[in-house]
Amino acid sequence: MTTTTTTRQRTSEPRGVVVARRVGAPLAGLAGLLAIGWAIGFLVEPDGPARLLAGIYGFVGLEGEAQAIRERGIPSLTSKLVLGVVALTVGVGAVWAVFIGANAAVERLGARWRAQVLPWVFIGPALLLLGAFLVFPMASTIGTSLSEGEGAAGNFGFVFSDASMLIALRNNVLWLLLATGGSVALGLVIAMLVDRVKREALAKTFIFLPMAISMVGAAVIWRFVYAWAPAGQPQIGGANAIWTAFGNDPVAWLQVPTLNTFALILIMVWLQTGFAMVILSAAIKGLPSEVIEAARIDGARESQVFFRIVVPMIRGSIITVATTIAIVVLKVFDIVFVTTGGRFESDVVANRMFTEFFRFRNFGHAAALAVVLFIAVVPIMVINVRNLRRQGIGS
């Protein structure tokens, strides 16, 4: 209702305001474009902030200070703050200004033209960015994997026959099965359990909290848990403290092949269980309680209620959770990169892709690895989207 009244008011605005709006909006758009152009130049220059500050000082008449900055530069903190302010004004303000200006320009056109051009003004910037950062790169990477390096046969042959690659592929399968399965199963069990306690929201927050942490941060947290010291020395890592308390020798969890992959998978489970729990908990709460009560009255055991009624009824949500986590797990990079760097037979495809790409500059291998990752993700995504359609989301 409020909108209809404001639009009515606008038609009876004083003439001056209308003129100001007509002239102002295109000017704002032009200014926005200029600001973006200038800012890109400015932000790429290392001494941009110093020059800008000197310019401002000169403009307001503080020629002495301006001269001092030109000669000696400015402290890095000040430079950073100037950069930050420019970044925010341009990144946030100028993008809006361009939309305002383009829209105003289009509204000048006749009604027929306007209806045809305006949609492209609205989706144009998004399409441009999607084209530059996803569509074109996708085609280009496929091309690279087929033609550069050792050619298609060599690049993909490396992926599927190199001894270290076979280990990485095996590890990805382990990750996919165990990290996905572990997170979903634990998330489901915890969702059922917290449903029956009083401080449910608080308990959930603790489980969910790792979702906010970066994988790098999580990797450091768990590197500390898995810390190892020779037998006889104090064990400062939680895992070895517990392990040696039972009279065992300390284990270098991150350096023993295959055991280290399981140790890393545990980090992912720790990170993703909260996500599974939140979605599955919402699904469980959405179940009609009569059905479950009726089963209990008919004498069903709790395990039967769980496996025969709850799980089948929230099947859609379980698929959503499993596919979403599976996609994250397939592309796991940070955890491996920070903890083991892929050594000790703990490599995975995404980490190897980074190594080939950034360290060895073997773009043919790297592109082939990216394509393999892409092909692995597609079927999971198809299941996910189909499942969402069935539930009536996103259709």
Binding site: T3, V44, L129, I213, G238, V278, F358, A370, F374
Partner: protein, 294 residues
């Protein structure tokens, strides 16, 4: 399905006993889930010699020996180890990299939902399809493009990359929300003479605030926590390195200096934890409506 429902007629003590196993299980799970982070935080407040001499739990068991607590680790990490500058860099990277895709996606989602134009269906299917593309597919060509444009190691390049990679999910989430606005509401605004731009800014955007907030939190956490894009397009120079990139450098150069790593890791976690705890409601709503980030 609460524990008390089936047992209302039981005496109080028996209800407590019956509920006990579940409660104990939940408390145990919460403890196991929190201990790794607690251990990190406690260690970040201990002098380096103490960290190496005994487990962090020893400090918790003797909390009143004040000599064993220190904030010197944080001072060192913020200053000499460059986390202070990395914090500023992270802010400079994250805020525009969140704002730019939201703005573009909101306009695009409105057009897909409420404007008629040729190719609308195909283009929208394409956008949803791009959800599948792993970031790895884009790394090499975008790096080459940036080399030509001289954008490697710049904040601008990083914002644009994050914006591009975040757009499919942003458009998808916002479309799901914006297309659900009742048709009558939009049409009556048009009948009153409002242009698309006015309908968008005065009617749709205010209504879409919950969806905008959910995506903003997603993208903010994603960009703040990102390592891959930061390493490839910004690099590890202290001038530009973000907190995760810096922390990763510290792991590489000071892998056993736990007083540095624990304090550094905790610093990188503060902002996302605050954002997350303050806006948890929006975050949960967001993942409940469309959890399909590729």
């Amino acid at each position: 399905m609460t524990a008390s429902r089936g047992s209302v007629h039981l005496p109080r003590w028996e209800r407590i006993v019956r509920a006990a196993p579940v409660r104990i299980a939940v408390v145990l799970i919460v403890a196991v889930w929190s201990l790794p982070t607690v251990g990190l935080f406690v260690s970040s407040l201990r002098p380096s010699a103490n960290i190496r001499a005994s487990g962090w739990w020893e400090a918790v068991l003797h909390p009143f020996e004040s000599a064993q607590w220190t904030v010197a680790n944080y001072a060192g990490v913020l200053g000499a180890d460059g986390m202070g500058e990395a914090f500023l860099n992270s802010i400079i990277v994250t805020i525009p990299a969140t704002a730019i895709p939201i703005t573009m996606a909101a306009f695009a989602a409105y057009a897909f939902a409420w404007m008629r134009f040729p190719g609308r269906g195909i283009l929208f299917a394409l956008v949803v399809g791009l959800l599948v593309v792993p970031i790895q597919m884009a790394l090499i060509p975008v790096l080459r493009l940036y080399t030509q444009l001289d954008l490697n190691g710049t904040f601008v390049g990083t914002w644009l990359a994050h914006a591009g990679f975040g757009l499919p999910l942003a458009i998808f989430l916002l479309f799901n929300f914006i297309s659900q606005i009742p048709r009558d509401l939009i049409e009556s605004a048009h009948i009153d003479g409002a242009s698309h731009y006015q309908v968008f800014t005065r009617l749709v955007l205010p209504l879409a605030i919950p969806a905008l907030a959910s995506f903003a939190i997603f993208q903010f956490l994603w960009v703040w926590n990102d390592l891959l894009v930061a390493l490839v397009y910004l690099g590890t120079d202290s001038e530009v390195a973000t907190m995760p990139a810096r922390l990763n450098e510290l792991v590489g150069s000071k892998g056993e200096a736990w007083h540095v790593l624990t304090a550094g890791a905790f610093l990188t976690m503060i902002v996302p934890l605050v954002v997350f705890l303050a806006l948890q409601r929006y975050f949960v709503r967001g993942i409940l409506t469309g959890s399909v980030k590729a």
